[in-house]
């Protein structure tokens, strides 16, 4: 199996505070992995380290065999390491269609064409139509994102990530803010992602995690607690203690 993302000994300290220590994990082509952990476990820090938002204190990150530890965030995106955002971060006044056009044009580095007509760029309309169709957004293609339902905005986030032809896709709480009863539609969309893609989902909702993930990685206090199949994780007493236990305390 192709190793798409290899993280080795990734650590980050802010002064004396160690927020991530010695995290190692691998994502293969076709993986559907969930990253879980109680609040403050360092999940967001981990995503920010991997995507290049903040530089790590130690460790290496390889994408499809290439060392990307020192590359800036935008360069990692160009190489196929794509994330979606926990809070939908979209261009409010632009339409759904314009979002996807922009992402596809950016991927092909065709955004410095000053005198081309977006409507006439070769192959663009077909690709955008395909993406709209995959995510079930065709009906709202011409709607400004600001007036979309939140669930549709989340679908657009995924469509936008998909438009960039990712190798590794990191979904940061893709169903956050969507009522529980509707999260199935988000999961259906995730199911339709290309099979060879490696997907890492950061999620609080254990129900979603078990429906999505074939493997689970558990973070606690900035460390990798354990990883394995969903069945193994449920059975692991350490997970019960750290994850479920702390949840019980919170209530």
């Amino acid at each position: 199996m192709t190793k798409l993302l290899e993280v080795e000994g990734l650590s980050k300290n802010f002064g004396g505070l160690q927020v991530s220590s010695d995290i190692s994990m691998t994502l293969n082509a076709g993986d559907r992995c969930a990253l879980i952990g109680p609040n403050g476990a360092g999940k967001t820090t981990f995503v920010n380290l991997v995507t290049g938002v903040i530089p790590p204190s130690a460790g290496t990150i390889r994408l499809d065999g290439q060392d990307i530890t020192k590359l800036p965030a935008a360069e990692r995106v160009r190489l196929g390491l794509i994330r979606s955002f926990q809070v939908a971060r979209l261009f409010k006044s632009m339409t759904v269609r314009e979002h996807l056009e922009l992402a596809v044009l950016q991927r092909g580095r065709r955004t410095f064409r000053l005198f081309a007509n977006v409507a006439k760029v070769a192959g663009l309309a077909d690709e955008v139509a395909g993406l709209l169709d995959t995510m079930g957004l065709s009906q709202v293609a011409h709607t400004a994102v600001g007036s979309l339902a939140y669930g549709q905005q989340r679908l657009l986030e995924i469509a936008l990530a998909l438009a960039m032809k990712p190798k590794v896709l990191i979904l940061d709480e893709p169903a956050a803010g969507v009522p529980h009863s509707e999260s199935q539609r988000i999961l259906d969309a995730i199911d339709r992602l290309p099979r060879e893609l490696a997907v890492l989902m950061i999620e609080h909702d254990m129900d979603l995690v078990f429906r999505f993930a074939r493997t689970i990685v558990v973070l606690a206090q900035g460390r990798l607690l354990c990883s394995g199949t969903a069945r193994e994780i449920v059975a692991d007493p350490r997970v019960r203690e750290v994850y479920l236990g702390s949840r019980a305390d919170a209530h």
């Binding site: 971060r89 261009f91 006044s93 005198f115 709607t143 009522p179």
Partner: protein, 341 residues
């Protein structure tokens, strides 16, 4: 997802039935022919005011350059006159010393304005908001001071005079009634609008709108916000430079005030008055501001600025999107009636 299913069908939902924003924003294709038609009508209806109309046309091109920067890139600037002044001086210097063909002058102005914008843009566009505003003002002051000190080339505080443009295409002389001047300025403005419309509808224009809305999100899809902004600033610098050159061609004189802070600020007022992010809002705002100025300054030379102020407050309070947004609401109202009929 139930709420999505419960939501009214987007095709019939009145909230989302409106035309795509991109088409709404530049009024489709009718905006530019309308400017040309109104401009030509004014030529016959107001033959005694051609000097004013010429100033409006050239200024509108300048305000258009500001709309590209502010309306499409979200760059807050009070130094757009730096490019206007540079273009005006470049065109004047070329005309006085080498070649006074009006098209050569426009090209010189556009080139100079674009270069200054690219160089200064690369230096200052990492900043945002208030810091950027200060830096753009500083660039304007520097350009003005350079023009002031380089007396041998620019005439310093006396201004650069003796610009005598050759006939347009070797056929149409610049007559003393200003007919050629006005038609030439109108033609350049319409051409400028067409080019600007092309640019804002290009992949580049789309990317710039994305930067205006959320630069970090642009990075997250693999783009570099700053390079878009610098390129946009350069493009707008070309427009401002051509506008400056157009003023040099039609007025025959270039003064230090063409690069001054008040001119930058006035352009901003005109743009806000007309409406940002629409292109034709720049034309409406310039015509409204300078037209009102002309009428009021003639009837009440002491208080006209106060009336302009009141007018601006009224627009901002009742039509926050500028005069152009009022037209759009009117248009939407009429379309709504048609649809119901």
């Amino acid at each position: 997802m139930t709420s999505v299913a419960e939501r009214p069908d987007p095709m019939t939902d009145p909230m989302s039935r409106h035309t795509p924003p991109a088409a709404r924003r530049d009024l489709g294709w009718i905006g530019i022919p309308l400017v040309a038609a109104v401009g030509l009508a004014a030529y016959w209806l107001l033959p005694d005011d051609l000097a004013l109309l010429t100033r409006i046309a050239a200024s509108a091109l300048f305000v258009l350059s500001l709309d590209l920067v502010l309306g499409y890139g979200g760059i807050a600037t009070l130094g757009q006159a730096a490019m206007f002044g540079t273009g005006a001086y470049a065109a004047g210097i070329v005309a006085v010393n080498w070649n006074s063909d009006p098209f050569v002058m426009l090209a010189a102005g556009g080139l100079a304005g674009g270069l200054v914008a690219l160089v200064t843009g690369a230096l200052i566009l990492h900043a945002r908001g208030l810091t950027l505003l200060m830096l753009t003002i500083a660039v304007g002051q520097i350009v003005q001071e350079v023009a002031n000190k380089a007396r041998d080339w620019t005439g310093g505080s006396d201004g650069l005079s003796g610009i005598d443009p050759a006939p347009v295409l070797g056929l149409f002389r610049f007559d003393m009634f200003g007919r050629t001047s006005y038609l030439f300025a109108l033609a350049v403005l319409v051409a400028g609008l067409m080019v600007a419309r092309r640019i804002v509808r290009s992949p580049f224009g789309l990317a710039c709108r994305g930067v205006r809305e959320d630069p970090l999100r642009i990075s997250a899809i693999g783009g570099s916000p700053k390079s878009y902004l610098v390129a946009l600033y350069g493009v707008a610098g070309v427009f401002a430079g051509v506008a400056g050159a157009l003023t040099a061609v039609t007025s025959g004189i270039v003064g230090l005030d063409s690069a001054g802070f008040p001119w930058s600020a006035e352009a901003l007022v005109m743009l806000v008055l007309g409406g940002t992010g629409r292109l034709y809002g720049a034309v409406i705002g310039t015509a409204a501001f300078m037209g009102i100025h002309h009428v009021l300054a003639a009837s009440d030379p002491f208080h006209w600025m106060g009336f302009i102020g009141l007018f601006l407050i009224g627009i901002v309070l009742f039509l926050p999107g500028g005069i152009a947004s009022g037209f759009e609401r009117l248009g939407a109202l009429l379309r709504g009636k048609e649809n119901r009929a």
